[in-house]
C-alpha cells in the first residue's frame, strides 16, 4: 500500500508537467489550465524543495560533532569547521539586529570564502601538469591523434600560438585550425554523443516517471 501511494505521487508529479508540455496553449478557445497554474505549482515545489537544505547540514554537524566529542585524531579540523559555520550564521542572521554584522558577513565572504575556494580548486592545475608529464604517454594511434589535437587547441587558445603561426597560410594558423576543429569535428562528435545521451535520458525519465526503475530506492519498504 505504501509503495502504491509513492508510485501514484511520483506519477502525479510528472503528469502535471508532461501535460503542460504536450497540451496546446489554446484548447477549443480555452487556455491550457496547466500553464495557468504553472507559476504557483513551481513556486510551491521550489519552497518545499529548499527545506531539504537542512539534511546536508545535519549530516556534517553529526560527523564533525562526533570527532570533537570523542576527541578523534583530527578534532581540531572539526573545530575549524564549527568556527566557520557559527561565525557565518552569526554574522548572516545577526545583520538584521546589528547592522555592523553586515560588514562582518561581507568580510568573511570576500576575504575568506573567495580566496579559499579559488585556491583549493587552483591546485588542480599543478596536478594536471604533473599528470601530463608522468602519465601522458603516446603508445597508440588514438593517443597520437588525441595529443596532436590537444597541441593544436592548446596553441590556438593563446597569443603565443598566434605569434608562431602568423606567417603561415591562414587556414593553417593555430587559432584558425583550433577554431575549425572546435566548430566542426568537436561540435559534430559532441552532437553525436548528445543524441545518444538524449535518447537515454528520455528512456530513463519515462522509467522513473512510471516507477519501472529497479534499485534500492525503488524497492525499499515495499
Amino acid at each position: 500500500m505504501r509503495r502504491g501511494i509513492i508510485i501514484i505521487t511520483t506519477f502525479i508529479g510528472g503528469l502535471f508537467f508532461f501535460l503542460e508540455f504536450v497540451l496546446p496553449e489554446q484548447w477549443f478557445g480555452n487556455p491550457n489550465i496547466f500553464s495557468e497554474w504553472m507559476p504557483t505549482v513551481n513556486n510551491f515545489l521550489m519552497i518545499v524543495g529548499s527545506f531539504a537544505v537542512g539534511i546536508g547540514v545535519i549530516n556534517l554537524v553529526a560527523v564533525h560533532g562526533q570527532q570533537i566529542t570523542k576527541k578523534g585524531p583530527a578534532w581540531i579540523n572539526s573545530a575549524g569547521f564549527f568556527t566557520g559555520l557559527i561565525l557565518m550564521l552569526l554574522f548572516g542572521f545577526g545583520q538584521d539586529v546589528f547592522p555592523v554584522f553586515k560588514t562582518g558577513f561581507n568580510f568573511l565572504f570576500q576575504y575568506m570564502v573567495v580566496p579559499l575556494g579559488a585556491t583549493i580548486f587552483s591546485l588542480l592545475a599543478f596536478y594536471i601538469v604533473s599528470a601530463a608529464y608522468r602519465a601522458f604517454k603516446i603508445k597508440t594511434t588514438d593517443a597520437m591523434l588525441m595529443t596532436l589535437t590537444a597541441f593544436i587547441v592548446i596553441l590556438g587558445q593563446v597569443p603565443f600560438g598566434n605569434l608562431i603561426s602568423q606567417s603561415w597560410p591562414h587556414f593553417l594558423q593555430f587559432p584558425c585550425l583550433s577554431a575549425w576543429i572546435m566548430n566542426n569535428l568537436n561540435s559534430a562528435a559532441s552532437r553525436g554523443v548528445l543524441f545518444g545521451s538524449a535518447v537515454g535520458a528520455l528512456a530513463i525519465s519515462l522509467r522513473i516517471w512510471l516507477s519501472l526503475e529497479k534499485g534500492s530506492f525503488f524497492e525499499k519498504g515495499s
Partner: protein
Amino acid sequence: MSSGLDLTGIWIAALCTIGIYSFLYKENPFYRLFEHIYLGLMVGYGIVLTWREFLKPKWWEPMISGFREGNAGILWILAFFIGTLWYFQYSKKYQWLSRLIMGLFMGAGAGMAFKGIFNSIMPQVTSTAERSLNIFSLDLGTWFTNLIFVATIVVVMTYFFFSFEHRHSGVKITAKIGRLMLMVTFGAIFGNTIMARISLVIDRFQFLLINWLHLAH
C-alpha cells in the same frame, strides 16, 4: 569597507592562499584546517542565503501576513508540513514518508525532462538535416566542411550503437573512425582543460603579486 579593514582582509586572504598552497610542498595540518574552515563558511553562507533571499520573502512573509490579515497566505503552512517530510529519513519507522516527497520530485523532474530534452534536441536534429542538405553546396570549403560534419555525426553514433554487434566489416570500420573522431574531441577537451586549470592559478598569482605584494599592476 574602510581601507584598514581592506588591508587586514587582503593579508588574511593571502594567508588563506598560502595555507592552501602549502599542500603542494607536503601534506600538513594548516592545509587541513583551512579546508575545514572553508567548508564551515560555505555551509553557513548557503543556509543564510537560502533563508534571507529565498524562504523569507517567498514563504515566511506571505505566510505571516496570511495569519495576520486572514488571507490565502495561510495556505503556505502546508509547504512547511510537506517540507518536513524530507527529515523522516532519520526515522526507521516513518522513513517511507521521506520517499513520498522524493518520489514527488523525481516524478516532477522526469515530467519536466520531456520538455527540456525536446526543446534542446529538436533544433539539433533540424540543424543536422540542414547541413546534410547543404552538402551539395557550390563553395568547395563549405562542401568539405559539411561533408566532414555530417560524416562525423554518423560515425560517432555508429560507434555508440550497442543494440547489435559490430560484425559487418563496414560497420566495424565506421565504428573505428567514430572512435578516432572521439579521440579528436577528447584532445580538444584536454586542451581546454589545461587552459581552464591554468586560469585558476593565474587569478591567485595575480592576487598575490598585484593586490598583496604590489610587485606589479
